[in-house]
């Protein structure tokens, strides 16, 4: 095509003689629509953080860990449903009481990997300064981040149990009777999931909030779960009598299970709580104190963190 038959090139923005295909510079337009304020800011941050917890809107690499762990948490439920379907009810190794206890390692790893994803990048790249220069208070920021991790862990905990629930229901001979049986398990499913989600999230964010370096935060959270678990086990095995009985109170997962047992009933064989003579309400009390301490640490940290 000879040059003289080329269509006219689009004109620069702001040109006074626009022709077809030109970019029109509309000038600056004022915004006089609604300004939704603080709650809108908090909910925006909550949803964005929840998406980030699962690597949504991020690169494929950011999705590997959260989705891999979610699948690991789900596999036992799928296996259990398959066993129920093929062989019959009543022989599954997984119940709603012990499911989360069995997959607790995936929760520890999820918190270690994703709590830093939520809070460390903003600190390291100083995005906090921008958040705090908006109608979002420092504590609003902390609450939105903690809430997002709690929600992410709830999804992680509820999904496999609901798969188990659906599997049990669909394979039962009488669906109506099955629904009546299974419905009784809903408080256990929801209550246990909440206990795991709230406890582990608040511990994870409280630790992660102290360093802008993501790798340190992940290491510190893993170390916390490893050390508390190991010390609790060693004390439980190596000592006799009352010290051994109190040892489970050091392990956050045992605290969660003791509280679950106290509030929702049904002891499980795998848990050290079952062999301990410490009254269950003490597990509940210590767990409440741990969560309160973690939340207080988060609040104080975000009141002071440099932005």
């Amino acid at each position: 095509m000879p040059p003289d038959t080329m269509p006219p090139a689009p004109l620069e923005a702001g040109s006074s003689t626009p022709s077809s295909g030109a970019i029109y510079d509309l000038g600056y337009r004022r915004y006089d629509g609604p300004r939704l304020g603080r709650w809108h800011a908090i909910s925006t941050l909550f949803w964005a953080s929840l998406r980030a917890a699962f690597g949504m809107g991020r690169s494929g690499r950011a999705k590997i860990v959260p989705w891999g762990l979610a699948v690991f948490a789900l596999i036992p439920a799928l296996v259990a449903v398959a066993i129920i379907a093929l062989i019959g009810e009543g022989i599954s190794p997984f119940t709603y009481d012990n499911y989360l206890w069995q997959v607790q390692i995936t929760f520890a790893l999820f918190v270690a990997a994703q709590a830093p994803e939520l809070v460390n990048s903003d600190m390291r790249h100083r995005v906090l300064a921008l958040y705090f220069s908006h109608p979002l208070e420092r504590l609003d920021y902390a609450a939105a981040k903690l809430g997002a991790l709690v929600a992410a862990l709830l999804l992680l905990a509820l999904t496999p149990q609901l798969v188990l629930f659906a599997g049990n229901l669909l394979t039962s001979t009488d669906v109506v009777a099955g629904l009546r049986d299974q419905a009784g398990a809903l408080p256990q499913i929801i209550g246990t999931s909440l206990l795991y989600a709230v406890t582990l999230s608040s511990i994870g964010i409280a630790i992660a909030a102290f360093t802008p370096r993501r790798a340190y935060a992940t290491g510190a959270i893993i170390a916390f779960f490893l050390v508390t678990g190991a010390v609790s086990t060693i004390l439980g095995e190596a000592t006799r009598g009352s010290l051994s009985d109190w040892a489970p109170l050091i392990d956050p997962f045992a605290l969660i299970d003791g509280t679950r047992d106290w509030l929702l009933g049904a002891s499980i064989d795998e848990s050290p709580v079952t062999g301990s003579s410490v009254p269950l309400p003490i597990f509940g009390g210590v767990l409440a104190a741990v969560v309160a301490l973690a939340v207080a640490v988060i609040a104080l940290r975000y009141q002071r963190v440099e932005a």
Partner: protein, 302 residues
Amino acid sequence: MALISARALTKRYGSQVTALDKLTLDVEPGIIGLVGANGAGKSTLLKILLGLLTPTSGSAEVLGMDVTTQGPTIRGLVGYMPEHDCLPPDLTATEFVSHMARIAGLPASAARERTAEVLRHVGLYEERYRQIGGYSTGMKQRVKLAQALVHDPRLLLLDEPTNGLDPAGRDEMLGLVKRTGTEFGIATIVASHLLGEIERVCTYLLAIDAGRLLRSAPIASFTERTGTLAVEVEDGTDALAARLTDRGLVARVDGRAVLVDLPDEAPYDIVRDTVEELGLSLTRLEQRRHRLEDLFEADHAA
């Protein structure tokens, strides 16, 4: 209504460091330059105006609102561009600016629309779909400006907007700031330690030094006072200086250049004629930007 006003505004960190010392000022809307050496208290003042720092004593108002009690309302109407890096590397400019628009209170659809407009205004086109981590410093500064503008603030606070930019990048950023302030009519405060930059874009100047207000006046009153013309010729620098002095100008040799005081327009013609008479080849003729130190020395001496 005054854009900002402060009454005996004081900020101390601990008992030793005084960042702001009884600052009293009233500023009307416009493009206001806030100039001072590093550590003079510029960033502290901006953070107090945003309600992020509590003054030790005294009071300040922004858009008629008290900074200590109405911080959140003020922050909803102000756009802030910090001096330091503040961008997440793993998001695209579009994602990040639209996220900040929603944090500032815009509904999702308005946030998307305004993000596209504002990114076009700051000159980011196809790059806006790439991750910020791969951007040049100039592009990052544009994203920082875009996030400050996206919610259509009544007041823009820009802290060293040309930080880290090369000369061409500085020119572009300053042009952008000037256009935003004049064409869009958004009141702007530009903090900088470079008086030359302030002079080019601002209509009003606030100079602070060690937390005290040094000057608060329209920019014109500064430029009249201390203009200097730098003349460089290939050979004969001394001869030129001598001849110019003979002709009644205040001229002195400074390295390879002859510096001529500019009380009015007349020296330009005299310099041209003198260079021609002496048969010198002129390599550079430049009006010197005032250095901040000169201004401050003059004021301290006065």
